[in-house]
Symmetry: C2
């Protein structure tokens, strides 16, 4: 049974409402916060609407996408709900959890940790894939048979991993500047070592490039946008070409459209520029 939701705020925006909720989480053993945008037809229970999950990047929380992503105009028009979870547990009380912006608070990496001191709380994979989605299904007028997911950077990694590990569950997946091959970049190796341990064979379960090679499910539409002025692209933290090569060579039913966008960086200025394309992409697959 889903835990009790506490409404923190609700604010009208376009033809719908942004609501913020907190709840006790069994997956992370603490309080979690998320936002949900509900179009009017869902608020009035006239229609069960498709639902889109968005996973944010390092240092972000549940608000970045909602306030800066520019998605709500399109979601309102398309009558799609949006759920934006936080990026990690907060205040878990783990020594050093707030000391490094790449690890701990704001850096959950959408894995289920197996190592101390993280394993009690840092279970963002199960939190997003199971607990949060159950809460949303039980609490709001959404049609869970029409669910898609997207994200940015660390959250792009998370979205790709969740979609590739749950064949048929998501109608489509997209990402802005995702970490594509975390087993081979510092963003990934550092966190996987801490959360999953040094046995690299278990990392593949959280690595989109590795998962693409073994994906065995219905055709999965994937859209990836990457700016070529992105400092983290230059420093090889993101590696979209690895994902492209894996998708092309493995001949799995992964329909990847990977686009390089000249001049754009890693920020929400990049994200909002291509938001319309991503919402249209998901809307097309959610309405099929």
């Amino acid at each position: 049974m889903a835990s009790t939701l506490a409404l923190v705020s609700k604010t009208r925006c376009f033809k719908g409402e942004v609501r913020k909720y907190t709840h006790d989480s069994a997956a992370t053993n603490g309080k979690m916060t998320f936002n949900i945008y509900l179009p009017d037809v869902a608020l009035s229970n006239k229609e069960r609407v498709p639902v889109l999950y968005y996973l944010s990047g390092l240092t972000c929380n549940e608000d970045n996408m909602i306030t800066k992503g520019g998605a709500l105009a399109y979601l309102s028009d398309e009558r799609i709900a949006l759920v934006t979870p936080d990026t990690s547990p907060r205040g878990a009380g783990i020594s050093g959890e707030d000391d490094d912006w790449e690890l701990g608070t704001g850096a959950g990496f959408y894995v289920d940790a197996t190592e101390e001191p993280w394993k009690k709380n840092y279970n963002m994979y199960s939190y997003v894939q199971s607990e949060l989605q159950q809460i949303v299904a039980e609490s709001f007028a959404v049609d869970t048979s029409r669910t898609s997911i997207f994200g940015h950077s660390m959250g792009g990694h998370g979205a790709l991993v969740l979609a590739l590990r749950n064949p048929g569950y998501y109608k489509s997946v997209s990402a802005f500047a995702p970490i594509c091959h975390p087993s081979t970049s510092n963003w990934g190796r550092k966190q996987f070592t801490a959360y999953l341990g040094s046995n690299e064979s278990v990392w593949a379960a959280y690595d989109a490039t590795e998962l693409v090679k073994v994906y065995d499910g219905p055709a999965l539409p994937v859209l990836v946008d990457q700016g070529d002025a992105d400092q983290f692209y230059s420093s090889k933290q993101l590696q979209p070409s690895h994902l492209v090569i894996a998708a092309e060579s493995s001949k799995r039913p992964v329909q990847l459209d990977s686009r390089m966008q000249p001049g754009y960086d890693h920020s929400y200025y990049f994200i909002c520029t291509f938001m319309k394309d991503h919402i249209a992409f998901h809307a097309r697959h959610l309405r099929m």
Copy 2:
């Protein structure tokens, strides 16, 4: 001559760039910061584009509108530049300047202060109307004969005042939840007393409702949106009905379209919802 601009950052967004600049200001006797969004045709000097100024509200700075307003998509399509100044001097060194969110830092109120200790620095009217606009005219490919202005809350007040006091200069003016009659609301009386002194007869020069009654210039298109779930509307800080009554009774050439928007509050969730309408309104008058 305009002071030297120092480029702080430039970031590609939609078909254009957001640039942040700092410069020494003669009007405020200190360093000021602003953002400018330039469409590609202006960046490449192919076209002098119309320019829109946006004045932010209490506690805000030059970034709120750029990151949360959702305007850049429309400005990119319309090929209009946007300039977002800060809301006050910062670090002027005035005792107590940072102690009260309604006065001092973040609360310049777009007046030229005549009272101590503010008068050396708190000259945001002259800064925006004269110094900043001269800098923009000299530094970028904008067509200053096609200039419009808008703002939010305190900045809505500022936009209305600048437009009403400079007949013919702005092609159009609009505001989200503006302070409409500051001589009669706490937001206004408090700041005018501090910046302009207790002689209320001088306040009328910075009061949109009073200025509408004596406006003597070419027809001025004005669009105002107000949410009816706005706590500052309920607490009578904004008073849009005063502006409507003044415009109707004075028979001046002020073409006011004042709209009440059910369910919306005072936040950027409200602003971004009606941003498309405001940009379209200005684009129509800037292109005439």
